[in-house]
Symmetry: C2
Subunit: 815 residues, 2 copies
Amino acid sequence: MRISTLPSPGAASSALLGLLASAELIYALPQPKVPARMQWAHNRGKKIARNALRQSLEGRSYSNVSVACSTSQAASITAPSDNVWAGLTDIEAVSVVSWLFGQSSLNLTATENATEWDNTILLVELQIPNKTDVVAHIDGGGPSPTRYAHVVLDHRSTEEPYYQDLLVGPLPLNDATAGYQPLEYPYTRKTAGKVRNLDADADTLSTEWLYKVGASVADITLDLWNGTGMGLDNDTLDIWGIDPLWQDDGRIIRWDMFWQLPSNFFDAETLMPLGLYFKSDVTGRDPSQWKLEGWLYDNVFYETTEAFRTAYWSGAVPKLAANTEGSWTETDPQDANMPYDSNYPPKTIAPSGSRFGVDYERKYVEWMEFSFYIGFSRDVGVTLYDIKYQGQRILYELGLQEALAHYAGGDPVQSGTSYLDTFYGFGPYAFELIPGYDCPEYATYFNSTFYVDETTHTHLNSICLFEFSADYPIQRHSTSDYVSGTKNTFFSVRSVSTVGNYDYMFTYSFYLDGSITAEVRASGYIQSAYYTTGSDFGFKIQEALSGSMHDHVLNFKADFDILGTANSIQRVKNVPVSRVFPWSNGKARNTMQLERSFVASEDESRFNWAPNIAEQVLVVNKDETNKWGEYRAYRVLPMSGAMHLTVKNSSNLVNAAHWAEYDIQVTRQHDHEPRAAHSYNSQDVHDPPINFDTFFDGESLNQEDLVMWLNLGMHHVPHTGDLPNTVFTTAHAGVQFMPSNYFDIDQSRRTVNAVRINYADGAATAVDTFGQKDATCAVDFTPVEYDLWGYKGDVVVRKFPYDPNNPYYETDSIV
Amino acid sequence: MRISTLPSPGAASSALLGLLASAELIYALPQPKVPARMQWAHNRGKKIARNALRQSLEGRSYSNVSVACSTSQAASITAPSDNVWAGLTDIEAVSVVSWLFGQSSLNLTATENATEWDNTILLVELQIPNKTDVVAHIDGGGPSPTRYAHVVLDHRSTEEPYYQDLLVGPLPLNDATAGYQPLEYPYTRKTAGKVRNLDADADTLSTEWLYKVGASVADITLDLWNGTGMGLDNDTLDIWGIDPLWQDDGRIIRWDMFWQLPSNFFDAETLMPLGLYFKSDVTGRDPSQWKLEGWLYDNVFYETTEAFRTAYWSGAVPKLAANTEGSWTETDPQDANMPYDSNYPPKTIAPSGSRFGVDYERKYVEWMEFSFYIGFSRDVGVTLYDIKYQGQRILYELGLQEALAHYAGGDPVQSGTSYLDTFYGFGPYAFELIPGYDCPEYATYFNSTFYVDETTHTHLNSICLFEFSADYPIQRHSTSDYVSGTKNTFFSVRSVSTVGNYDYMFTYSFYLDGSITAEVRASGYIQSAYYTTGSDFGFKIQEALSGSMHDHVLNFKADFDILGTANSIQRVKNVPVSRVFPWSNGKARNTMQLERSFVASEDESRFNWAPNIAEQVLVVNKDETNKWGEYRAYRVLPMSGAMHLTVKNSSNLVNAAHWAEYDIQVTRQHDHEPRAAHSYNSQDVHDPPINFDTFFDGESLNQEDLVMWLNLGMHHVPHTGDLPNTVFTTAHAGVQFMPSNYFDIDQSRRTVNAVRINYADGAATAVDTFGQKDATCAVDFTPVEYDLWGYKGDVVVRKFPYDPNNPYYETDSIV
């Protein structure tokens, strides 16, 4: 889409940077409507000594790893530029929240005092500056882009509740210049940043609807499962259902079902569906107008509760088995008596400590010839920016855009479930990592921070950075005279987001040959289906349970800048041919050859990996050839996993996830098309705030600044091996970016960690280790070596009123 | 194909086992025709102290690894059965060779005395017993299958030279029962095991043809490259060409070309083609009848040498640039000054030493719940047999069948090259591995042995077995109350075969969830093309060099036995559907579902991975369902890489490699169809000894003993990053076998190497490490720690005359 007059916040008022001292600012700003004491009523955490916590927040807690001869963390270096993607400072966030509460026209209420009919602040975070402005700054020496806060307000003091994206700034706030404006330019729908909120009455929905419906059939739930779902403390049943809601014909329809609540901390509820479903019309905000529209049990639909009750108690309805807890729902080791297993398994150590540099403040990393900045946001978690090799940018941006889990089933809840997970957010659930499990103990860990409910939460040690040496070399060759080999050491950045039942592990890795990979793995509990509707949608995996088939599709933005921003996409196909040659005696020979083409425009820029992977997809700059005349390119190729969505024209998604339909999609980069999806696309699937289809409007892709939108995915048809948890080894998808004619020779020749052995007559005649470090050192090996008792969870700091001296621990998960 | 009367050697004469004492046997057998002294004339190795060498042959040389608290090698255990696939004993091989030389009708000559008109023994190794007989033995307690030697004779004392496969036995040899018979039953062509030999006159071809042709244009080669290819000691040029030879119309045609010989040990010759080609008709054995049929230079064909010479010296022909050595042809580190790189990179250690058991004698391995036997053969190297999980067989056999490298190009040599690498063999080139590079230092290494020229060669430490812990867990899950994780430790068996320029790394891995993977990676020097014919077949990667495009396709046999041998192949497809449900108000919903089918017969059993990997391929036993009624299955799924050949009806291969045409091919198991290809298929491509197509003759695949023939491959279009060597990180293909409803729950729950941390209010409240070993130990970390000066190469023992006390070192590579 082309927009000629673009309201770029970065370009707007960069000369007007405010100079208010932060302390002054904070105390000058208005206080919340209610006494501070009351605000803490629901604080589940306990306040603890501020010094220890402050240390945690510094992110240096894992500095005493004892599996190395040297215990050094990553070297401290200074980034060449500021990290313009790093998020708001505490003071910035505080000032924005305070300033917003000062805008009476917004009629805001502090979250913990707000009812469903009050307006609240949902999000305050950095508005990622436009690429145009950033590049002018980091490449061109222009000013640092003016900073704005991206704010999401939840307007609920109205019959038509809506979310609204705002820009607040410029930062630092200054009475003369501070203002807010609807944030609209990055979205394809132009409605002043407003998106309807279908979730506004979440509390009322429980108390006034779901629990009441639950109570209305308590006789049956007690008979079936000896339990109730009525909102009581001793309820053993839970009630929830589809996402997104049905949004057709002007009505908002939900399907909900009963689930068994777990009795212990193992959150296996998604393994215990109970096979009773009901349909509600919950259009509008008045619960008295909501209507029960029917029940489904044993695959029979009843239009009213009375009809269902009559049938049930008539005895004509079978009493279906329940799915209940057992060892199969618990992840602890079971039957664990394998030979040798209680000895230490192999473990990777870092004898020299870390071999990379980090600007801890700016979250900037240098490993070997690579460098990049790390950003973190509420919606998508970690994003990498300005990825360079030897100072030359490869990617401006690489990060998750959205994750879809599209279920299918014979029942309305599974059939109606198509989670768009950034609605929940990957940032809030990027929990603390387990050293020695999620990442090596010797990794360097960063904290990450997100905003919610007038607080900032810090996940301690939630992003890890580490080198690892693969179990195979990157190069080797041998003859009867010599053998050579090169160690395959790579560098990874990792975070794990547990969005409810599922744990998504995101890993970006960098290799000595100059290649980069993006991978996602899935573990955690599957969401399963009650086994009533047969085998069309999954395997039966327990007494009354079906592994509910679903497609994971995760979209990643890869904003390549190959030798500048003027890029093109070349497709190089291997094709069978029958061809006559000057030397073939006039006979045609059956062989193969290459077929080259360019993706001309956005009319042809959505496609899939070729069958048999018989096509290379290359990002080139047509004006930059190597000395042999070939385009210096990065090739994009699939590593593993399936890629795009099976479902065509999904009834659940309508227009909310067109990004999921192809493996590879290329658009011209625009500051107004920064992301493939909006986190509230699920709230209006017919007319979502970002409709990815509209990115494709025929623009030329010839020597333009290009963005590649790549899908990683898994067709998941859970089987018994997904119980209790899916395993990362099989639930895996990845994509690789590989230099192609980009360098003169293989860049892994640049490491000294190689060997050549010449040999003859049964003895080595030369062993060249090329200056590798070769002194012996003693490692104090302590298995389970990091003190796992150090696991803490999230740290929360109150932002309104600002209370920096009283941080407390509180971790909030979806389950 | 069905054969009703099958000459099964195993079933033949198992009651007639000979009882001759081995020593008696050896000395009773005939001696070679020539004095022993002469036989050693070309021995390049030196004889060394037998004790040290004997120790090497025991395969225990790497027992002092110092990167563990415990230095134990794998525990010594006893296999439940003999390894019937393990190869001949020394004594067996000696007896067979001696006995063969005693059969005057064979008219054999010891290899080193043989001319091209003598008959020689090419191969003496174990004839792998028929599955039928083995299963009766290892499962049914029947007798160990009668052992036979598989012998290949090279009959060259004839105008029509041929190879012949023979069976010799039964073993031990016994004057009463010993005999030989043509080996025919495992081949689809029934010609008494005979295959024509197109390579019989290899020496004459060089001396009487290629060098003479080279001499005939020495004026030009000197002018072009200041060198000759004439068979002189100071030649700087080499001459070789296509494989297979053109075999059409009753003629045998070769295309050869000039290459620059490397001046040092870096065997970069395949990077230095010189762009001058000639065609010869070499039909028949009389060099005087061979004909030069033309020259190709600068893409112009000349019918005669004279025509080419005239054109050349007329000055009308351009003097094309040569490809010559440089740093780009050498694998040593270059420009190696990256930050921190001279510190130790991360390294995996085995603090408890090995955690698996090995029957060293029988090459039997037990790791966790897995067990298997290792076989090794000349043609394909390592094969795994009788792979079991908890004593239940998953695969009877898993191993390489053949590897094709199909090139294409604008010149006749690249266009005509389609290496079928088992002609050369993977066994002879499975060289000694580099500890710390090819495998971890702490790995357990096996030797491997192959027969050639009346000797057995032993590759020391050429098969490695090791555990490794991945950089990510196999399972993890977290909530605000707890986090759990399980270490992902796996077990691998690896060998590397360097077939000329290319190093193929084969890795079979076993995972805690019960899954198994087979992977191949490629490194080493590419074979490149002279850059005359433009860009249709590759990228230009040096002054006058094209990265010659080629497809690698490697076929693997996976003989599954899922809960017995009565198996079926189920295909489970994810398909988009529009479907009305009882609860959908009569409206069709766009969603997806599963579509199940079985592969009925060999008429429909050759297929590819579905686009978007939207289909599961399951090996099931229809009579074995789990308690929920689902088939207990292993799923076969692609991990990475391309799979089948691009070229259709290859002019080079004709009928020699039909196995390369699909990703997945399933046949009914037959003792007479043990392998997808014959190592001499290249010698008669129109009518090869094994034509894989003929395996498919419509047999039912419903509850039969099934074999899956799986291809792994890479479309390789080399670019500058392949210089000097291709890197293993990008040249990779793999397939995974994953339990699907096979176990009741995920088997990785059976390891104790897991943790659960419960936490609240910023502190862990419980840390359960489930009995993991948790004592501290000290590791003496010695980087580059294995003494690489211990690299030795191959050990040779003379078998005729048997000379066990004088082993010597000699390693033979193709380059």
